[in-house]
């Protein structure tokens, strides 16, 4: 029977000075998940491997790990798919990223709980329950707003691969912000402003780098990235003047005035005179390299048909409040290029073709 290698991150702080990797050879079985492979290695080869698991059906969120570099649920991915995806004979299993490992694949969850507490991840009613003894009610669109965010199973796959969290451990992170959104956006919740204050503390909400990694990692359909953006929209609507809000205003004004962003005047408008002074070395560097369009200092050129842009801008602003934008359904969706003869690129195939030549 064909075999593959399961390379597992091993670490026992009571006896290992450093973490190390141990490789187990296992038969490739159809339908075998990474979690079942770990069980097989543990039962047949090495009972000391430690990992968390429970439901084995992508519901409980216990078995999140980094598999070949990307966080996901070990019970949700199959060995045969991974071997093909990475064009390899080795599956590398590590604890999720951005955490303190406790033993092997088990990590310290306290820091996640501490972060969650900051956004009060529980329902704080706006008003007492209806007097008729029935439950709190919500119109379908209000429910739709929190529908996906409510599906979070706290597996922390998104926290693992978050680029901002990688370099700043004070960041609340996508899982926590998605949870904050789930309650802040709930029409029955009475603590919207408190929740916004909590995520805006030290501008925490603004540290997201828009890399879309969290949504890509989420094994459910929570869409942490999209929820972070909605939290920012809520903060703007509530009148908080964050750097992000100022930035967005500059973009809006430039689209109206000239169509394109005026990058030359951006620092001055974003951060005022102090900002412009702070950015002077950068500006001079860009000038010396001939990257600066001097006309832009005087406002710059306009795109063609700017009157049309302005008309559309004004109408869109008027119409905005009547439009209910739905959240996209993204579970398992891979964008499809509608053109004929265009299918998803399969580079494993192409690599093999090249090799055959």
């Amino acid at each position: 029977m064909e075999k593959f290698k399961l390379k597992v991150f091993r670490y026992d702080p009571t006896k290992d000075p450093e973490p190390y990797y141990k490789t187990y050879e296992l038969p490739i079985e159809k339908g075998m998940t990474v979690l079942s492979a770990l069980f097989k290695a543990k039962e047949e080869q090495d009972p000391s491997i430690s990992f968390r698991y429970n439901c084995r059906a992508a519901i409980c969120g216990s078995c999140a790990m980094r598999i070949n570099g990307h966080a996901t649920l070990a019970c949700k991915v199959q060995i045969t798919h991974l071997l093909e995806k990475y064009n390899t004979d080795t599956i590398v299993v590590e604890p999720i990223g951005n955490v303190k490992p406790l033993k092997d694949l088990i990590y310290d969850m306290d820091w996640l709980v501490d972060k969650l507490k900051k956004v009060k991840p529980w329902f704080i009613p706006k008003e007492p329950p209806p007097p008729d003894g029935k439950e709190y009610r919500q119109d379908p669109y209000d429910h739709h707003k929190i529908d996906f965010a409510s599906d979070c199973i706290l597996c922390a796959s998104c926290m693992s691969d978050c680029n901002a969290l990688k370099v700043n451990k004070d960041y609340l992170g996508p899982m926590v912000l998605a949870k904050a959104y789930r309650f802040a956006a709930d029409s029955r919740d009475g603590a919207k402003r408190d929740r916004l204050e909590a995520v805006l503390k030290d501008l925490n909400l603004e540290w997201c780098v828009r890399c879309w990694e969290c949504t890509t990692r989420c094994p459910k359909e929570v869409q942490p990235y999209e929820n972070i953006i909605r939290l920012r929209i809520m903060a703007a609507e509530e009148g908080y003047k964050t750097p992000g809000e100022i930035h967005a205003e500059i973009f809006e004004k430039d689209i109206y005035k000239r169509g394109l962003l005026n990058e030359m005047l951006l620092p001055m408008r974003q951060e005022g005179v102090i900002g412009a002074v702070k950015r002077a070395p950068f500006g001079i560097r860009m000038m010396l390299k001939g990257k600066v369009n001097f006309a832009d200092f005087l406002g710059g050129h306009k795109v063609k048909r700017i009157e049309e842009v302005r008309k559309i801008y004004e109408k869109a602003k008027e119409k905005k409040k009547y439009v209910k934008i739905k959240l996209p359904q993204i579970m398992g969706v891979v964008y499809e290029d509608k053109r004929k003869n265009r299918k998803r690129a399969n580079f494993t195939e192409k690599l093999n073709e090249t090799a055959n030549k």
């Binding site: 828009r210 890399c211 964050t242 962003l261 560097r285 001939g290 869109a316 290029d337 998803r344």
Partner: protein
């Protein structure tokens, strides 16, 4: 061969701080037989900033941008990752929600426009690979990049999220590696090839997040002894190249990693003079590269 005509959406950067991207794209496209009809009436895509304040405005503005390509009956070609994902986001939402599409069209009709959903949004990288084709590129190479170890830096929005991009597997993309190989170069497998440059949190988290990411990325390419990094995104380029001195100060280490725009790398292999490609317009010196071409 299919006709390689595109509605060319430049974005703000190529018209602002990255003129060398605009110029090198045009030169390389011409050489590869791609015809780019510039959308001179197109506006900024919102870059994620407008999307955080007024989502409906962002959708409407981008529906107009796409409608401009539809007027020409052409697919819309971008040279920026963020433009790609923002235009795709609009297309995805409008194509999957008839009510929203109608609401947007009610606004567009005031200006005599309509969003139909007939033009695809595509990126220069993908058209070079699937439109021109790697075999053809291989034949056209006159100066193979055989002296170079090149570090691909994809940039987030050309691989994520799948529901808006989907060109290749976001966990293990290979398009840039394939292109480098076709040009005769060798791609490095560096830690940060799929990482984020930090650009989009610059104004709110420059010290706390952005510059640290930028430094990690450039250092990662250096660890693999890359001669230069290459990116299909001008925002990544600004961050990695023009902001590299700030990133170096942030971590207190000199890095000095040159960063090329994707068309500049292709142009070098096609024998276009480096000066015409604007290699002298970079902040991190490209002189060592020039000495090897």
């Amino acid at each position: 061969m299919a006709e390689l005509r595109y509605a060319f959406y430049t974005g703000c950067s190529a018209k602002g701080v990255a003129p060398e991207l605009y110029n090198s794209t045009k030169l390389v496209a011409e050489k590869l037989g791609m015809e780019l009809i510039e959308l001179e009436a197109a506006t900024c895509c919102g870059a994620g900033a407008v999307q955080e304040k007024d989502e409906f405005l962002a959708l409407t503005i981008n529906a107009r941008n796409i409608a401009l390509a539809e007027e020409l009956g052409l697919d819309l070609l971008t040279i920026c990752n963020t433009c790609t994902v923002m235009l795709r986001e609009t297309k995805f939402k409008l194509d999957n929600d008839p009510e929203l599409k109608e609401a947007v069209n009610e606004v567009l009709r005031e200006a005599g426009l309509e969003y139909k959903g007939t033009s695809e949004i595509t990126h220069f990288l993908w058209e070079v690979i699937d439109g021109v084709g790697l075999d053809r590129i291989r034949e056209m190479v006159v100066k193979p990049l055989s002296e170079f170890k090149i570090a691909p830096f994809y940039g987030c929005h050309i691989i994520r999220p799948q529901y808006l991009i989907g060109y290749e597997d976001p966990d293990n993309p290979k398009s840039i590696e394939m292109l480098i190989e076709a040009l005769g170069g060798k791609a490095t497998d560096h830690e940060a090839r799929l990482a984020c440059c930090g650009f989009h949190s610059f104004w709110s988290a420059e010290e706390k997040v952005t510059l640290k990411l930028t430094a990690l990325d450039a250092e990662s390419a250096k660890e693999e002894k890359a001669d230069f990094m290459v990116t299909p995104c001008p925002l990544c380029h600004t961050q990695l190249d023009a902001m590299q001195p700030e990133a170096e100060s942030r971590i207190g280490v000199k890095i000095g990693m040159p960063v090329l725009h994707l068309p500049q790398m292709i142009g070098l292999a096609l024998g276009i003079p480096p000066k015409e490609l604007g290699l002298d317009k970079h902040v991190v010196s490209t002189e060592e590269i020039l000495s090897k071409v």
